[in-house]
């Protein structure tokens, strides 16, 4: 039950994008087309979960015993970068289809603060292994949900009349604000 609440809470209430502001660069950059957004969303779920497992293990079994918690930022970014690149190389070789639909988004994820953010939040919240997996996957799912909804909105936005100065990122941010307002409505769900 707790895990379910944790999952719902991190998808809707504490949506990583709309409430925690993480992953905004790709959110604005890659959300112009629905297709791209789906690919990005799925890729983030995959990478965030994988990266969280690795970083969690490294933190709890390598850094913590040595009292090196303060190195986590440095270690995490290295682990994530290497991991993502490895997965990219691997997928590119093994499955062309998977690479085209998912793999091409992988490099974009290295510097996606959502992934790094989820890894850090896992440590900050002191989650156990199972909680960590549930939290990571559902937070990333929250990202996917938000970017998907947002891409749908933006496709409509593209064919509507927007004042010149507000076109592009400006209107995208305002729209994200309205969506964030809507997501605040979910706050009651987990109480």
């Amino acid at each position: 039950m707790d895990l379910l609440l944790l999952a719902i809470g991190s998808i809707f209430v504490n949506n990583i994008l709309l409430a925690q502001y993480l992953g905004n660069c790709p959110f604005c950059g890659v959300s112009k087309k629905l297709g791209t957004a789906i690919g990005m969303g799925v890729a983030v779920i995959f990478v965030a979960t994988l990266a969280s497992i690795f970083t969690w293990v490294v933190y709890h079994y390598l850094l913590k015993p040595q009292g090196l918690e303060y190195l986590k930022t440095l270690v995490f970014i290295l682990v994530i970068a290497a991991l993502v690149q490895f997965v990219e190389i691997f997928i590119k070789k093994q499955s062309k289809g998977l690479y085209d639909s998912l793999g091409i988004f992988l490099p974009l994820i290295t510097t996606n603060c959502a992934v790094m953010g989820i890894a850090l939040l896992n440590i900050k919240h002191g989650f156990g292994f199972v909680q960590m997996i549930v939290f990571s996957a559902s937070s990333a799912a929250g990202f996917a949900v938000a970017i998907l909804l947002f891409a749908s909105v933006r496709e409509r936005l593209f064919i509507s009349s927007v004042p010149t100065a507000m076109r592009g990122t400006a209107i995208a941010l305002v729209t994200a604000g309205v969506m964030s307002l809507a997501f605040m409505g979910f706050a009651g769900m987990t109480n």
Binding site: Y21, F27, L71, L78, T111, T169
Partner: protein, 203 residues
């Protein structure tokens, strides 16, 4: 670019995050108050100056293939130093900024400047560039923070600016307010650029 241009381009021409639409996460996340915005800006400025410096120094030593990885390590090291220093000297601020401090590592502005500028320019220019972009970023963040704080709480840097009868718009300090505020500012900026007849590129 000459030295003077390098020193000033970040203040208007390439002002982040408005002109360079990069580094949105911190601009949104930590700007609930002007103080947080300024703090974050200073932290980023520090990292920018020194990452530019080290990368400019090391640019001839680092092999091309691992340059991104090396840059990340340099940046991350500086970020951890900032993180520790902030805890030791500005503890309340470091609590406010939370995980957004370590997340400076993945702020595209820093890696972007490292690659686009520091890796091909001498040390003094690179540091000037870091200072310029960093100051621009601090300015923007403080501005967003001020607007959100004044409207959302009714104070500026903790000082009351409105009489007690003012009912603050609470949502300005929350997520929707951040998006809205940044979006509208960006729009305003575009309108101003257009008015001045400048081209603006955004994606």
């Amino acid at each position: 670019m000459n030295f003077r241009q390098t020193l000033t381009h970040g203040l208007w021409r390439d002002l982040p995050p408005f002109r360079l639409v990069l580094g949105l996460c911190p601009a949104l996340a930590v700007t609930a108050t002007a103080e947080n915005g300024l703090g974050m800006g200073i932290a980023v400025t520090f990292v920018l100056i020194f990452s530019n410096m080290f990368i400019s120094l090391l640019r001839k030593v680092i092999p091309d293939k691992v340059r991104i990885a090396s840059y990340i390590v340099v940046i991350a090291t500086l970020v951890v130093i900032v993180e520790l220093a902030m805890k030791a000297f500005f503890f309340p601020l470091s609590q406010q900024l939370g995980i957004y401090i370590p997340l400076i590592v993945v702020n595209c502005i820093i890696l972007g400047r490292a690659e686009a500028f520091a890796s091909r320019n001498p040390v003094h220019l690179s540091m000037a560039d870091g200072l310029s972009v960093g100051l621009g970023f601090s300015m923007s963040l403080t501005l967003v923070g001020s607007i959100r704080e004044i409207l959302g709480v009714g104070t500026w840097f903790g000082m009351a600016v409105f009489p007690d009868s003012f009912e603050p718009f609470g949502f300005m300090v929350q997520a929707p307010g951040a998006f809205l505020c940044l979006g509208l500012l960006l729009g305003l900026m575009n309108a101003w650029s257009r008015h001045r007849g400048e081209f603006f590129i955004q994606t």
